[in-house]
């Protein structure tokens, strides 16, 4: 793949051949890294360097429409010196201007231009796909040599292109997949963690690298990595995990241990919503349990506050001796707190007319999450726990 891309770009610069290609791969598969790498290699070739490859880089998230993109291209191609101090005219003028500029050149005399469209899928949503059409059209006609490279993570990108645009695209697709297996993953892990040779303190680097070697052979560490590997092959998540682990390293604790990694993994994989539950009051937990029961009874149908309150009242009446009976406004307050935490979500937007008690809501927690959180909840009344286990516990 790198060779393909390198070859492609080399031909653009050396032969002045126009091309277009798409680099497709899931997030974190190294699309931009690949491109940068290839460009670096390319710069090392003498011929290419002399030809001065210009490359406007257009991140799709910034270029929200074609007008902005055009301005950015003009800026990056340094054509604005021709435009002078003239304030940029209309969109139409800009387009005509740029097209004319590109039309002027021909294969043999103009400097080749490399267009990099990051988040290519966002450019597809621009009106009429004008920019893409024009870029591809230039790449398919005897004008200034251009190479258009799109980076995207969408596998269905070609279906998004309009038929005319699609016809002009050369259908070179470079797929990047995280196709490595676990052994390679471990290798990457080692390489990422090892200190480079040019590290100033040599003895420490030696020690550290030895430690990393040990770690990679350690069973627990391998388990941790295996788990992460099973979840995602994305290297960014590995970086994140290692970052968490390495940040535990201090002067007194100079070397990374397996425990550090385990701890990091635990942090890395905690459930965010369940975590929130840990911080709730008993009343709020009771409400959540009531909602859980409602969900079970009505099979996931939405509920409203009044239903939850009734359910809660039933529980209180049964266990009146152990639980303090809260006033309804207090319960309402607790309920609204849950709403703010987004543990429950209204089905429709709350309108001024509808009474808050009867607003239809949905619980955003799974029953397994609730049970797990309850296990970890400190000083939870046994009655509540029992009630959570079964709504029929009083029988």
């Amino acid at each position: 793949q790198p060779r393909h891309l390198l070859e492609l770009l080399r031909r653009t610069t050396v032969h002045g051949e126009s091309n277009s290609a798409l680099v497709i791969g899931p997030r974190g598969s190294g699309k931009t890294t690949l491109l940068n790498h290839v460009l670096k290699d390319l710069k090392e070739m003498k011929q290419v360097r002399e030809n001065l490859l210009e490359k406007p880089f257009l991140p799709g998230l910034l270029q929200t429409n074609d007008k902005v993109a055009l301005k950015e291209i003009t800026r990056q191609l340094q054509l604005e010196n021709v435009v002078g101090d003239k304030v940029f005219g209309s969109f139409a003028e800009n387009l005509a201007f740029l097209l004319e500029a590109l039309r002027k050149g021909n294969r043999t005399s103009s400097c080749p231009i490399l267009f990099v469209l990051d988040e290519f899928d966002l450019f597809v949503h621009h009106k009429n796909q004008t920019l893409l059409y024009n870029l591809f059209d230039i790449s398919q006609s005897a004008q200034t040599p251009v190479t258009v490279i799109g980076l995207t993570c969408r596998q269905d990108i070609l279906e998004l292109l309009e038929k005319r645009v699609k016809s002009r695209f050369s259908h070179r697709q470079i797929y990047l997949m995280n196709s490595f297996d676990f052994k390679q993953y471990i290798k990457i892990f080692k390489k990422q963690l090892s200190l480079p040779a040019e590290f100033p303190d040599e003895s420490f680097a030696q020690k550290w690298n030895n430690n990393v070697q040990h770690l990679s052979e350690d069973k627990t560490v391998q388990d941790v990595l295996q788990k992460l590997f099973h979840h995602s092959k994305d290297l960014r998540s590995l970086h994140l995990l290692l970052m968490l682990a390495v940040s535990a390293v201090t002067v007194h604790h100079p070397l990374l241990t397996a425990a550090d990694l385990q701890e990091a993994s635990r942090q890395h994989s905690t459930d965010s919503k369940a975590n929130i539950v840990h911080g709730l009051s008993v009343l709020e937990i009771c409400l959540i349990i009531a909602m859980k029961h409602l969900n079970e009874v009505y099979d996931g149908e939405p509920f409203n506050f009044q239903m939850v309150y009734n359910e809660f009242q039933k529980f209180i009446q049964r266990k009146a001796h152990s639980m303090y009976n809260f006033e309804k406004p207090v319960v309402m307050k607790a309920f609204e707190h849950l709403l703010q935490l987004e543990l429950v979500q209204p089905l429709e937007r709350p309108s001024a007319r509808a009474q808050r008690e009867f607003l239809l809501l949905r619980l955003l927690l799974d029953s397994s999450q609730i049970m797990e959180a309850l296990q970890l909840y400190p000083n939870c009344p046994t009655d509540v726990k029992q009630w959570a286990a079964s709504s029929l516990s009083w029988l």
Binding site: H15, R27, K273
Partner: protein, 854 residues
């Protein structure tokens, strides 16, 4: 915008009908009177006069000589003219026949047949001078008004240039003489008469400055440009501390500047001020006219012979004298000969100086009080001295310090109009910093000179041609057979002929050719799926037609192309068309008006226009007025417009167009069928003619594959190109070889393989389990949609079966969003969390297939 329309003109006959033809019910006249309502002035144009006639382009009125004037049966005023043609009207390829530089003021005696010499009298703009010269003769360096004087040396009959026949020459000369006599005599006899040519001259002068705004602007720019060059030179003069310039001269100069600004003011608002100063100008103008006559017709005429009846004319005679000396200096100045500039380069700046100077003098005098008339004379003489020194300077400076004024200076000019005299002096000093004008002048000297009349707006950026920097190294030529093949297979490589589209080519060619010969308009709609060679064929047709037109087998035509995709807005189509046709840049609405006028009114010398509208469907608007207009113009009688509309869908007219649009589009349709595999094969092999790079079978495989899918020639070429790359890749170890089946198959696989299966296979374990869970949920529910919560339960169950640690809900959400980003799944907005609905973006079978393989 168009002042001509604002100030209504009334055309009436001058004098009694000379003769009338009872049968045809026409009556002839010897002159026509043009009355402008707003300025209350009248111009008389007589037979034999040279006139400017409204053309397609407001910047470029046609030059003609009035031969006959008559009123036809329907009371329409008609004029018969002898055309002169400007250099711009001569086809580019014929210009080289001239073998000499042509100044913008030179015109050719037009003997091209087929131009309509009978025009409506209302199209006459004003009278001008056309002076015949012998071929060897230099253009006179002194011209009073560049806009008003033209020279003719040769005739043009559509094929070659000829020297003017003595007969024509004398006739033209005669026409000038009589005119001059008339002017003189009438002025001498009745100066106060409204109908006198004097008045007419006033009118024409005024009108030249104001009437067609374009011309007006042009003059303005020239004014300012000449001013800038003037001031620039003055500046350099100061710097150089020229001997000729005395301190007194400088003083005079400063004295002068306010008046100059005043003159400028007049230039701007002649129309407005006319009422005030009309009386003042009226007596003055004759002298100006006289001066002009003097210079244009007879350079050697001695100034003192002009009757100096009053002070004003004295000043003019002074200025005349000054011009005389001026011209002498030019001839005397040794530098001109030393420097090897073309005539054009030399003449133009000088010319620019003179008219403006003339302009100042004409305009400044009325402003002066009688008391200051004497100083005025002095000033003029000072100006002369200055001018002379300036000329010398100019030769020093030489180069292309021509007529380019930057916008900043224009603005300054604008500023100082309402200023007090002191300020004006200051600002005129500011003028003398010539930096900016210098820069812009250097920009494109050659172009500037050639296109001067066109450049109404002197803003540099607008005219600047953007360019991609040149590459330092030359592009490497293909070294091997494969590289050569690749180059030829590139879509951009233009083949000499278009195989497999001969029939369509012939049809379109015949259509356009017949319309061209008839001089009528028409539409043709061409449809076909992408990559079937629609645009290429049409371009080929145009190329052939242009070739034919060059060889005089066909009448010449203009070719305009617009592409719906390259427009930001359908209405921009008007702007582009107008810019192609006339070079004007206006707003969309105005362009529509101008174009409608252009195509609906009969224009003499109008060439047929061939308009290609690519990607027609994008010109669709809700009211469809763009399409309506486009297809309405060809149906007009005088439009001479041929439209070739290109789009993808065959039934576009029926589908998206309103009835009235579709009906105007007509029934001339052509549809490009997708290429069959044989045709594709032929295309590839025709491109590869002479290069042995492909196996016969390989080409056939590609073309069959593509033909089965889309019949898109571009795709076919791309695959072949990719195959050569793969071949080259594999080749490196062994000896050079041809592209074989294996390479082609690889290329096809690469391009057509579904990415999904591969993506799923390379997904992580939990992602795969998640997909399995989705399948299980779908099977359970029988609906192809599930919420994350449901899938999560399945996921956990599956994990338990496999003995894996089950993921938390957060992790499941992460997996889901990752798959969603790859579009393996279609997911809702993520704020619904567990209740987010999920759908597969590929068929369940594909997922099963991908997952089972392991």
């Amino acid at each position: 915008m168009n002042t001509r329309q604002q100030s209504k003109l009334i055309y009436s006959w001058y004098g009694k009908p000379l003769g009338s033809d009872r049968k045809l019910r026409t009556s002839q006249y010897k002159g026509i009177l043009i009355t402008s309502e707003s300025s209350k002035t009248e111009t008389c144009i007589q037979l034999g006069d040279f006139i400017l006639v409204e053309g397609t382009n407001a910047d470029q009125p046609y030059v003609a000589q009035l031969v006959d004037l008559y009123e036809d049966g329907a009371q329409h005023k008609r004029a018969v003219v002898q055309w002169f043609c400007r250099l711009e009207e001569i086809p580019q390829n014929k210009r080289k026949l001239l073998k000499r530089e042509i100044s913008a003021q030179e015109v050719f005696f037009d003997q091209v047949l087929g131009y309509d010499t009978d025009i409506a009298a209302e199209t006459i703009i004003k009278s001008i001078m056309v002076i015949p010269l012998h071929l060897g003769e230099e253009l006179p360096v002194i011209t009073l008004n560049k806009e008003q004087t033209f020279y003719v040396k040769q005739s043009w009959d559509g094929k070659c240039f000829k020297v003017l026949s003595p007969d024509t020459f004398s006739k033209l000369k005669e026409a000038n003489k009589t005119r001059g006599v008339i002017t003189n005599s009438s002025k001498a006899s009745i100066p106060s008469d409204i109908l006198t040519p004097v008045k007419k001259e006033t009118e024409s002068v005024v009108r030249s400055a104001t009437k067609p705004k374009k011309i007006d602007m042009e003059i303005e720019s020239k004014h300012s440009s000449s001013k800038s060059s003037l001031s620039k030179e003055r500046h350099s003069q100061r710097v150089a501390n020229n001997d000729i310039k005395t301190p007194t001269a400088r003083k005079k100069l400063e004295l002068n500047s306010p008046t100059r600004s005043k003159g400028r003011l007049l230039g701007y608002e002649v129309l407005g001020l006319l009422d005030d100063v009309c009386d003042a100008i009226a007596p003055l103008e004759p002298s100006a006219t006289k001066r002009k006559v003097k210079f244009t017709s007879d350079i050697l005429g001695s100034p003192p012979k002009i009757p100096c009846s009053n002070d004003k004319s004295k000043s003019t005679s002074q200025s005349a004298e000054h011009c005389q000396t001026f011209s002498d200096t030019i001839q005397l100045s040794p530098y001109t000969k030393v420097k090897d500039f073309s005539d054009k380069d030399k003449n133009l700046p000088e010319k620019d100086n003179i008219p403006s100077l003339g302009g100042y003098q004409c305009n400044q005098s009325p402003v002066l009080t009688p008391r200051s008339r004497r100083t005025c004379v002095q000033k003029t003489s000072a100006l002369i001295a200055e001018q002379i020194s300036m000329l010398d300077q100019e030769d020093f400076l030489s180069d292309s310090d021509s007529s380019y004024s930057s916008s900043s200076e224009e603005e300054e000019d604008d500023d100082d109009v309402p200023c007090t005299p002191e300020k004006k002096t200051k600002s005129s000093r500011i003028f003398s910093t010539p930096k900016s004008s210098r820069k812009s002048a250097v920009h494109t000297p050659a172009k500037t000179l050639r296109k001067t009349p066109l450049k109404g707006t002197p803003r540099t950026p607008r005219n600047a041609t953007p360019e991609i920097p040149r590459r330092i190294q030359v592009a490497q030529e293909p070294a091997s057979v494969l590289e050569e093949a690749r180059l030829r297979l590139h879509v951009s490589a233009i083949p000499e002929s278009l195989p497999c589209r001969e029939e369509e080519f012939q049809d379109i060619y015949n259509f356009v050719e017949s319309k061209l010969i008839d001089g009528t308009g028409g539409c043709m709609y061409i449809s076909g799926v992408p990559g079937t060679g629609k645009t290429a064929t049409v371009h080929e047709v145009i190329r052939c037609l242009q070739q034919a037109a060059e060889n005089d087998e066909l009448p010449p035509f203009q070719f305009v192309e617009i592409n719906g995709m390259k427009l930001t807005d359908p209405h921009q189509a008007y702007v582009q068309i107008l810019e192609f046709l006339t070079g004007q840049k206006v707003t969309a609405t105005h362009a529509a008006v101008l174009l409608a006028k252009l195509f609906s009114t009969p224009g003499p010398k109008r060439k047929t226009t061939v308009l290609i509208v690519d990607e027609l469907d994008l010109l669709w608007t809700r009211k469809q007025n763009v399409m309506y207009n486009l297809f309405d113009w060809p149906t007009q009688r005088h439009s001479k417009l041929i439209i070739l509309a290109i789009a993808n869908t065959m039934d576009l007219p029926e589908r998206i167009m309103m009835n009235r649009v579709a009906s105007r589009l007509g029934l001339t349709r052509m549809s490009f069928q997708p290429y069959t595999y044989k045709q594709l094969q032929q295309i590839v092999s025709s491109r590869l003619k002479g290069v042995k790079a492909f196996e016969e079978d390989a080409v056939q495989l590609v073309s069959r594959k593509v033909a089965a899918l889309s019949g898109d020639a571009r795709r076919c070429l791309d695959i072949c190109r990719r195959a050569t790359e793969i071949c080259e890749f594999a080749r490196q170890k062994r000896t050079p070889e041809m592209v074989r089946m294996a390479h082609v198959t690889e290329a096809i696989d690469e391009m057509f393989s579904s990415p999904y299966v591969n993506a799923i296979r390379n997904a992580s374990l939990h992602e795969q389990i998640f997909l399995k869970a989705i399948l299980a949920e779908f099977r359970r529910a029988g609906v192809e949609e599930a919420t994350v919560q449901q899938i999560h339960h399945h996921h956990v169950a599956l994990c338990r079966m496999e003995g894996l640690q089950s993921p938390t809900v957060s992790e499941t959400m992460a997996i889901c969003s990752r798959l969603g980003a790859c579009r393996l799944l279609l997911v809702e907005a993520s704020n619904k969390y567990l209740h987010m609905r999920v759908r597969l973006n590929l068929s369940q079978d594909d997922v099963m297939y991908a997952l089972r393989e392991e």
